[in-house]
Each structure stands twice: as structure tokens, then as C-alpha cells.
């Protein structure tokens, strides 16, 4: 069985809904509102959504340590999330650098648009993650996606995740010294594949 390691998603295929945006803007909004739809239109023009992924074996080690392909990770929460999973997809998805640059420009030209566009971009990258999960795993039973920085899955593992799936080379993802990924609208995640599915496949 082969697994795509790299792919691109057309921006127009990444859809978000009113409730996702509302929760980020802390108010009820509709994507049809003029200010929101104008911001969305300009943002979508700049999205270059790409992902890379790897399927890896999950091994439970000792004492809350788990190995998902690049050595021991000390994280009880990650272990709990991957309970019952013999394999996992590890992936990264990014909206690209044009979005980064656009947000930087908006931060000086219009703070209201900056605020709305930033919220939109955050929703869109999460929606892109949903799409990537679908591409990789389809409808097979899987765990919730879990990222470095969640629970006790320390953000310091981010570099190893990026190197392991070659997100630096394939997507151009870099890390600041404090562990922030650039471009900022980037997510890395681990999604476990439930064991019974592996036996059946």
C-alpha cells in the first residue's frame, strides 16, 4: 500500500462554516456579512495549501513513553490519545507564506481586517487539517488528531516532528527559537489508526 507523502489542496475546496468563525471571533457572525466575505475573498486568493505526511508504527514504551517513529516521547496524553492504535499518520499542513505576508500587511493597513482575516485563516487551516485526515485515512476508525503543545505532548517535540516528515524540505516550514512554526498558519498533528482496522487491512 502506498501513501502520498506530499500534496496540494485547492483553496476553494477548503470550506468553513459560520459557527467555526463565530467561535474565533467571539460573536455570532455570518460568512455572508459584507466585511467578512470581503476579507475571506482576499484571503482565499492568497492561500497555497500544501501538506506532507508519513505513516508510522506506534510503539508503547515504558513509563508514559511512546515512539511514533523518531524516538521516545514522554507524554501520557499522547499515549492515551493513541491507545489502541498500532500505526499513526503524522502530517503537517500549511496555508503558505503569501498568507503570512498578507497578514503582516493588514496589521498596519487595517487592524479590523487583520483581526477578521487572522480568525478566518485559523479556521481555514483547521478545515485543511480535516481534509488531510480524510485524504490520508478516509473513514477508517482513528483517534482525534493531537499536536505538539496539546496536554503534556511538549511543544519541544515540534522540531523532531517536522524533521521526521520532512516538512522543512517539502513545505518550507521553519521553527523559531521559541517553537513557533513559520508560516504561522501551519499545523502538525498525529492521528492514530485503530488496531482492528490494521488487522482487517
Amino acid at each position: 500500500m502506498s501513501t502520498n507523502l506530499f500534496g496540494r489542496i485547492d483553496a476553494c475546496e477548503i470550506l468553513i462554516n459560520d459557527s467555526e468563525l463565530s467561535s474565533r471571533l467571539y460573536r455570532g457572525v455570518s460568512l455572508d456579512e459584507p466585511e467578512i466575505s470581503q476579507c475571506a475573498k482576499k484571503l482565499y486568493e492568497r492561500i497555497d495549501c500544501r501538506f506532507c505526511a508519513l505513516k508510522s508504527e506506534v510503539r508503547i514504551l515504558h513509563d508514559d513513553n511512546i515512539d511514533i517513529g523518531f524516538g521516545s516521547i514522554n507524554s501520557r496524553h499522547l499515549m492515551k490519545n493513541l491507545k489502541g492504535c498500532g500505526e499513526a499518520f503524522i502530517f503537517a499542513v500549511t496555508l503558505g507564506f503569501s498568507v503570512e505576508r498578507y497578514l503582516s500587511t493588514l496589521s498596519v493597513s487595517s487592524v479590523p481586517q487583520y483581526y477578521i482575516t487572522d480568525a478566518l485563516a485559523s479556521c481555514i487551516v483547521e478545515a485543511a487539517c480535516d481534509k488531510v485526515e480524510n485524504i490520508l485515512a478516509g473513514s477508517i476508525p482513528k483517534s482525534n488528531r493531537f499536536s505538539p503543545g496539546y496536554g503534556d505532548f511538549d511543544i519541544s517535540y515540534q522540531l523532531q516532528v517536522i524533521n521526521f516528515i520532512r516538512a522543512d524540505k517539502l513545505l518550507g516550514i521553519t521553527l523559531t527559537k521559541t517553537g513557533l512554526m513559520l508560516p504561522q498558519k501551519t499545523i502538525t498533528a498525529v492521528v492514530g489508526i485503530k488496531n482492528e482496522q490494521i488487522i482487517n487491512s
Partner: protein, 796 residues
Amino acid sequence: MNRSSILELLKIKRLYFDGGTGTVLQSRGLCGGTAPEIWNIEHPNEIIKLHNEYLDAGCDIIKTNTFGINSEKYDNYKELIIAAISCAKKAVAERHNKFIAFDIGPTGRLLCPFGDLPFETAVSIFSDSIKVAAECGVDLILIETMNDCLETKAAVVAAKENCDLPIFVTNAYDESGKLMTGADPEAMIAMLEGLGVSALGMNCSFGPDKMLDMIDIFVKNSSLPIIVNPNAGLPTIVNGKTRFSSDADHFSDIMIDICTKGGTILGGCCGTTPEYIRKTVEKTRKLEYSIPTQKNSTVISSYTHAVKFSERPLLIGERINPTGKPKLKEALKNSDMSYIMSEAVSQSEKSVHILDVNVGLPGIDEEVMMHSAINAIMSCTDIPLQIDSSSSSVIEKAARVYAGKPMINSVNGKEESMNSVFPIVKKYGAVVVALTMDEDGIPDTVEGRVSVAERILSRAHEFGISSDDIVFDPLALTVSSGDKNALITLGAVKELSKRGYKTILGVSNISFGLPAREKINSAFLSCAFENGLSCAIMNPFSERMMDAYYSHIVLHGMDEACDMYIRYANECAPQEQTVRSTSSDEDLYHAVLHGFKEKSIEYAKKLIKTESPLDIIDRYIIPALDETGKNFELKKTFLPQLLMCADAASAAFEIIKETISKSEIDSDKKVILATVKGDIHDIGKNIVKTLLESYGYTVIDLGRDVAESDILESVISSGCKLVGLSALMTTTVPSMEGTIKLLRENVRDIKIMVGGAVLNKEYADMIGADYYGEDAMASVRIADNYYKSLNKEEKQ
């Protein structure tokens, strides 16, 4: 054994790089997750064996196994580099005309202004490696797989400063044909040729098919040999093993086409093996060879794209220049980069091609300011910049960190000027504006100015600077001090253009001292274009000037289907404000309340004719802000509406400020804002800034990722003792704590408010903050209360 230099060989024959290293070593036992460079020490024989296999396959240049090595990643980087070069030397020993390229890959971090790696730190990291390599003895430096323009430049600068070896550069373009941070091949070619590299091209990312699509751009724009080192296609996992989509036959067949189209140095990258190289050499060795022709074009570039001088004149926005601009002067004194950035963005929206950046002001450190301004502007617009200063040290500092090939303004015919500026132009690669004046002053004839121009050109050639990189400014002197001045300038433009040189003018100088200056400026601009002017430094907000420009290009057949003119004319048509509310109350209060920025400006302009400024602020602007702020706190209004209201209020405020004396506004109400070191989020800070400014506060915005010492320095220099700190990441809150500690130790009566998604009141108290801002409006309340209590103390 006698060896030809690699550059001599390139003039007469095609050369070949080797192929992939990491992917081959992985097939030979290198574990996933282990860096290939470790094998230089643990399995040197495997490295030597691989080098020999590539050399036996016919390659001419082997890359040292040092791609991932740098002083930041490895404490023992010297040992690893020495071992890698030793392996390479053993392989090429006794072979004729085989070369060793010292391989440098990316640091893995993004440079400022978008990332957190300072340019000089990057140069230092690369320099550490190159010094070792140069000492060991290699034949060239190969900088490869860089996906950022500025990191590429840092590596090239490090190479130039630490050795005399030829520098080859290949970048990793993605499927859209650009680098990750946006540079297209034209931009990279402009910058790299300016920096004086010996060959350039592309590597990694994808297979030869995509590179075949891109080779035409390189052939069309590059005057240097073109390197093509593709992957063996895109990687996939098949039954647990990595496979690449292009086999050796397919790969080498496409390389024939790449060769035919103009690829001069061929090789491979990830997934390729000695077999790929052998077949490529076999199939292309005997094909006709030629190196790219000299392109002779005047071109500058930014982070993302190049701007070529052509028949159609270019516009250079002049507004980032403190002369005659009190607000910009104030911003420079306060190191307010956001004001400079907003000037840059607003000019770019007027479709200028280049932005002039001049921050010379008595009493400020111009070097530091120019460095900050260049970085700030690069972060918000990708228009190429003209570095404008009378100080060569300022020019050098800016040219060094500029992402691209800049324009430098200026040099003149004085020996001192040419001796100080030309070396900078040569080292960093720039187009330089040359003023036609010398030790004898400004000639008062056309012939005199042209003669100075020719002398400057001759001296430029002595420095190795091409005529293509000089743009002459025959100087527009005001007609109010000499009625022939315009004629002399126009005559000089005409003659210089006739001789094939590029020209530039600071157009508005022609009318200095006269009333209704725009009338003369726009007419002079048209005259100058008629005489062949290549580019004009002008105010893009002047409708008359822009009318003159767009009319000229459409009338002279430089605007296909009149497209640009039509777009410009449509933009000039009055715009309808989007009305969200059906309110029939049309006044400034309601305009601000509903966030109608344009309406707010309109009503403010009307009201200022009949009411006093302070009355307008107290009766319309502040009540609207207070109403929205109150509703925000009651959760009846939400942040976007609050921000739009603040935006509209600030716009109205700006109109009022133009008519009010400084003493009438309480200009002492200042707040310093910064996102702390290590954090590059600024959305919260920017929201707070917008709100504070709408309430009349002067905000000293230090930006993001700000060092503790810089915040302290700003407090001391400004005298402002209210500081707002923002952090959005848990990893950067310790930096906030450190900043608070430093401020308390050094400044009496300092008051610090903090905010950000990761904070709460408890944590704010724990790290020693005086106030915690739980939402955007809180900052305004905190600042109001602070200044009220300060006033009360002063009265007592």
C-alpha cells in the same frame, strides 16, 4: 597534476554535479532520523565510496557531505566538516579536473523580518562553516536548497567575506515556481548576479519535468551559467520504502531537453543515484554547449519580484522622507515603525514600482533607524526599495540586510563619494543613482552635466560596476532660482537617454519656492517623460502627477489595451461607502459609532470649519468611542465593530490634529507597547494600539520580538513610564517576566500592563505586572486611570 579552474572549464564545456546523498545512504543502512553527515566520522569509507561512484558515473563536481552541518546544530561542526572534506579529497585524488564543492544547506530557521533569526547571526553561522572549508581547501562553495531570498543572501555574503572561491547557488522553487517566501526566479537572478556569484539555478523540490517548465525563465534572464539539479520526482512510500516517481531513464531523457533549452551544469538531488548521473552524462555530454548570453538590463528586486527598467517609466514613491513631514519626523524620533510601515503600504496601494526610504533626521541614529525601517517595510510590502542617504555607512548597513537587489541613492562625481559608495554597490549588488555634480558643483549646462555623468561611469567601470547598474540624475533645480533650470535638466535627460543611459529625477524639486507646486510638477513630469526619463521620484498621492503618468503611458503605446489607464481612471471615480445601517442620523458621532472611516473623515473636515477642535473631540468622537466601548464590555458589541469604530475615530482625530496646535492636545499621554522577545504575534498589541490611539494616546509601538534592553531604552529615551507588554505563547511569558524585572530595576515609578491569550490575572500578578488587561478595552481604562492619578499627584 595541473587543473584548470572550474570557471575556465565552464566557458568551454558542460559540467556535471553528483546526485543525492541522504537518500542513497538511507538505502545503504542510514537509519531514518539520523543525519547523513554523521557518517563522515562513523562510516567515512561509505562516503568515499559514494563519491567515487558518482565520479565514475562521469560527474565533475562532488558535493561534500555537509548539507546539514552548521555551528548552531552541531558543537563538533568543525570536526564533521574536516572529515567530510577529507572524504571528498580522497575520492578526487589522482583524478583530473574533478572538483569539490563545499555544500551549504539552510539553517532551518527563518530570517527577520518574518522569522526570528537576525541577518548577522545567519551570516555568522554560515561564516563559521565556510572558514573551516576554505582552510581545508575546496574548489567552490555551493549554497543549495535555500527557499528564502534573504537566507540565500546571508550565505553568499558569508562566502564572499570568508574566501575567494567561486560561489554557486541553487534554490528550491516550489510547484508555483517561487521560493517558499515568495521570490520568483527573476528576483533571485537579479540579486545573485548583483552579488557576483559564478553560477545559479535550481535544485530539489521536484523532478526534472517541472524544472523543464522553468528553465526558460532562467535562460531569458540570467547572464550566468544555469545549474539544474532536480529530485528524482516526488517521494512516495511503497510497502514501507521511499520511492521516487522518476526512474533513471525518464530523468535523463528530460535532462536532454533541459540541456537543449540552455541548462549548463546538470546534476541530481534527492532520490537520484550514480545511475541517474551516468545516464544523464551519456545522453547529454555530446550535445551542443553554450553559456547564457549577457542580458544587459537594469534591474532591481525585492523579496519576491524584480523590476526591470524598460521603455515604460517607473514611479518611485517619495513619501518616506522626513523633509517637510512633521508626522514622519515624530515617528522617527519615537522609533514608530508602524507609521513608516503604513506609509509604505499606502504608497504601494497607489501602484508605485519602487519606494524611496530616507530616514535622515538630526538627533537620531540614522544607521539604526534605516536598518529598522528597511526590515519593517520589507515585512509589509514587497515593493523594491531605494535606499536614500547621504551617509555611506547608512547605505552599507541597509544594502547588507536588504532582501534583493536595491537601488541606492546616491553617488555623485566627487572622488570621496565614488570611493565610498561604489565599493558598497559592487559588494552587495545594487543599481546606483548618480548625481551629475562634482567638486565644482552642479554644471549649469547640458554638456557639463553629461560630462560629469560620463566621468562617473568611467570610474564605476574601474570598480567593476556595469553601465546597466547606473541611473543618472541630472538634477532638477527650481525654476524660481533660474528660469533656464528646467530646460537644462530636460536637455540633459534627453542627451543621456540618447546615449542609452537610464535617468531619474526628483521631480518636485523643480517648483520649490513657488505657489501651486503641483501644476508645475505635473507638467514637468510630462516633459521629462517626453525626453526619455526612465523613472521619477514623486508623490503618488498627487492626482495630477498620477494623471500625467498614466496619460503618458497610454498615449505612447506603453499600455496594452489601455488597461492600466482604465483601472487608474476607475479607481479615481468616487467610491460608494458600504452602508451597514439604515440610520438616518448622518453626523460624525454616528459615522464613528458605525465604523464608517471615510464618512468620519468627511464629517470631521466639515465640522472643523464651524466648531472648535476640542469640542469636536469631546462632543462627537469620544462619546461614540465610549458608547461602543461600553457595549463591548457588556458584550453587545464585539471586537471587529470596536476596531472599526476605533479606526474611524483615529481617522477623524487625524483631521482634527492637522488644525490643532500641539499644546491643545494632551500630547504627554503616551504608552509604550511591545510584543516580548521570542514572540512574533502582534495582533493583540495592534488592537490595543488602535484603541489607545483612537482615544488620543500617543503610542510608541516597538513592534514584536522586542528585546528587554530595547524596551528599557525606549522608556528612558521617551520618558514614558506606562508600558504594555504582550505575549501569545507560553514559551515567551518568561521573557515578559524578565522584561518586567529589568524595567523595575532601572526605572522608578514604572507601571506595566500585560495582556495576551496565555495570561490571566493570577499569572500577571505572579510575574510582577501592575495591571492585567483581560480584553482590548481594558488597556484604555488602565491608561485613563494611570494618567488621571498622575495628574492628581502633580496637582498635590
